[in-house]
Subunit: 395 residues, 2 copies
């Protein structure tokens, strides 16, 4: 039983919720290879670090000997937006979906073991349901229970329309778990309701219900919104090493810990130690470098990570960054005021003139926008002209 306790601990690490731990223990104790499901949207094939929070957890299951099943939701993807109102969600062809699935696989295999990963398409069983199967599936759930889902209940309350087919989608997702006989299903915390529908439907169809494991949603590089391609606050896992490294080095010192907690494979004890050291005065930049190296190495290679680090550092070295530059903390975020407050320009109008002349750089990059707003929590190196430097912390 000690081994099982260890497994449960590995599985729980970083997760938001595990439903139900006793059931998972029972499944693990059976000695079976568990089927661990992750549903994927077939419309957006580019994975970013946000997606990898869940994929990393799948990797944990694989390291414990279990089988990962990627489910591509091609059935609804091929239908597109049946209301015809959403122009950005046209139906995808079989070929597009297969191409997207291939991309997914290639990307996910940077983390996962291909030997222990299956790719499934739900059109295989959803098509077969037919009109009759759909009615029987719909009969297994009440309207009221589905309307309890957060977004549905909000829309009902605000008199915003919910089309009837939207109620069918969670049922179809749940039916996927039935067809796959899933033992565990993973998802972001925003998927909790749908994952539980799968559990209920499995019971309804006489199966042992799947365990549900929800993972926190990773914030984007802005530290505010959930990481997403459409918000532009993402780090894609196929981005070149240098860009990936640079984006990671530029996240705030606070956000860094969140990223480390959710993305690093470093032992929990090591992470605790880092936190203690930084609290006692160690420069957080050193931890950030270690972490950025780990992530770039994961998606490219250790060598690529080393090169990215050197290039990143060189940008500063080439600009002859002084070893000891003044450190300033400012309360403003608008660049003109920041320059003035940090003592790098005598006035905001002079600051504007300096930018116009191309004489201001932040972390080595020339500033061209006089209205630029910096992000609170960030620490940046600002250079004015050839000689004036300051490490500025935005308080």
């Amino acid at each position: 039983m000690a081994a099982i306790e260890q497994s449960v601990q590995t599985i729980r690490r970083g997760c938001d919720e595990l439903i139900v731990e006793e059931e998972l223990v029972k499944k693990l104790a059976s000695g079976r290879k568990l089927r661990v499901k992750l549903g994927l949207d077939p419309t957006a094939p580019d994975l970013h670090l946000g997606h990898t929070v869940v994929i990393n957890k799948l990797r944990d299951f694989q390291s414990l000997g279990h089988q990962v099943q990627f489910l591509i939701g091609d059935f609804t993807g091929m239908i597109g937006d049946p209301t015809g109102k959403n122009q950005t969600r046209p139906p995808l062809s079989r070929e597009e979906i297969l191409a997207n699935a291939k991309t997914y696989r290639e990307q996910a295999f940077r983390i996962l073991d291909p030997e222990k990963t299956q790719i499934l398409f739900n059109s295989e069983w959803s098509d077969k349901l037919g009109a009759e199967g759909m009615i029987k599936l719909a009969a297994s759930y009440t309207v009221a229970r589905l309307l309890e889902r957060d977004d549905f209940s909000k829309r009902m309350k605000n008199n915003q329309p919910i089309a009837v087919h939207e109620l069918l989608y969670p049922l179809m997702q749940g039916y996927d778990s039935v067809a796959m006989k899933a033992d565990v299903e993973l998802g972001g915390t925003d998927q909790r309701f749908n994952l539980l529908v799968g559990r209920e439907l499995q019971k309804h169809y006489g199966q042992e219900p799947q365990c549900v494991l929800t993972m926190p949603l990773l914030e984007g590089t802005d530290g505010k919104e959930k990481m997403s391609k459409s918000l532009g606050n993402y780090i894609g896992i196929t981005e070149p090493p240098k860009e990936m490294y640079g984006k990671l080095m530029r996240i705030s010192d606070t956000l860094m810990w969140r990223y480390i907690d959710l993305l690093s494979f470093a032992p929990a004890a090591t992470i605790s130690l880092w936190k203690k050291e930084v609290a006692s005065g160690r420069n957080p930049r050193e931890i950030k470098v270690t972490f950025a190296r780990e992530i770039v190495a994961r998606f490219h290679s250790a060598a690529a990570a080393k090169r990215a680090e050197e290039e990143f550092d060189a940008t500063f070295r080439d600009r002859e960054l002084p070893q000891d530059m003044p450190e300033k903390t400012v309360s403003e975020t608008a660049i003109l005021k920041v320059l003035k407050q940090a003592g790098l320009a005598p006035s905001t109008s002079e600051a504007a003139r300096l930018i116009e002349q191309g004489g201001v750089r932040i972390n080595g990059e020339k500033v061209s926008d006089k209205n630029l707003a910096l992000r609170r929590g960030e620490t940046v190196v600002i250079q004015v002209g050839k000689r004036k430097f300051a490490r500025v912390r935005l308080g």
Copy 2:
């Protein structure tokens, strides 16, 4: 246009609601043979007079040259109750449904012209919808609009469960109208919501919407509940002439007018005249006889109606009903109290003794139940022993 006005008047007669009259006028003015739809439940093949209210209206359309389309809802009938909770609604086999449809046709053809009647089965297009078509259909309507249906909104309010497939049924019924390109759909007032869904879906699928014609629901012989086989208050159209005639003669004088309004083919002017005459003292029994004759002749023959009348009258004649018997109005309905109040027994205990001895008859039939309750509004002939008679009205 005078002909069209006349047609509209014929169609409107006896109806509860016509949606939308201007549209019907336009359809009639086109000179096309209109497709007039009636949806039928494939589970209960025996028609009673309640069903014929709508079928008579179809006959009006046929007499105006239009085409009647009976739609047998075999698709959902073959699914049965998908929740498995309702033991009384098992799935029907294709053979059972075909047999039921045949029975329907035979019965309906006692009223309708077979030449102008088509029988359609919705499995033809519902099966073809598939899971995908079902989702697209479900996308055409919002949850909120379906929950406006009377029974749904009541159940939501009372926290009674509504299974998701129940929302799909009105959509599938509506889709029948799309597949059939129906011009007009008929139904009882309780079908209003579903018929309007058909209208909306036709618009959604780019068709000219059907007109909706709702007919009032006929009360059963008890004058209270809607006529239905399960309540036992029905007159089946295949009942033998004598029973049909007897049941019609025993309805109350008030209910008689409702039946005449909804079932008689007598001209409106004639019915008005009858009402005036009865108001001025004519015995309503005479009108009832005329009406009962009409109905029995419709489902059997004029000769059968005549025989039924003679047999019915003979029952009373043979029992030597006195020409002038006392007329009494009583406020009680329990047979023992009625006998006492009508002066046919000196006390309720004596009344009980008379019933035990088999000495009490109501409309010629021996009474054996001392707890019998008579129906308010009815007028019956009660006989006690050989000689005592009274025509008793239950006030």
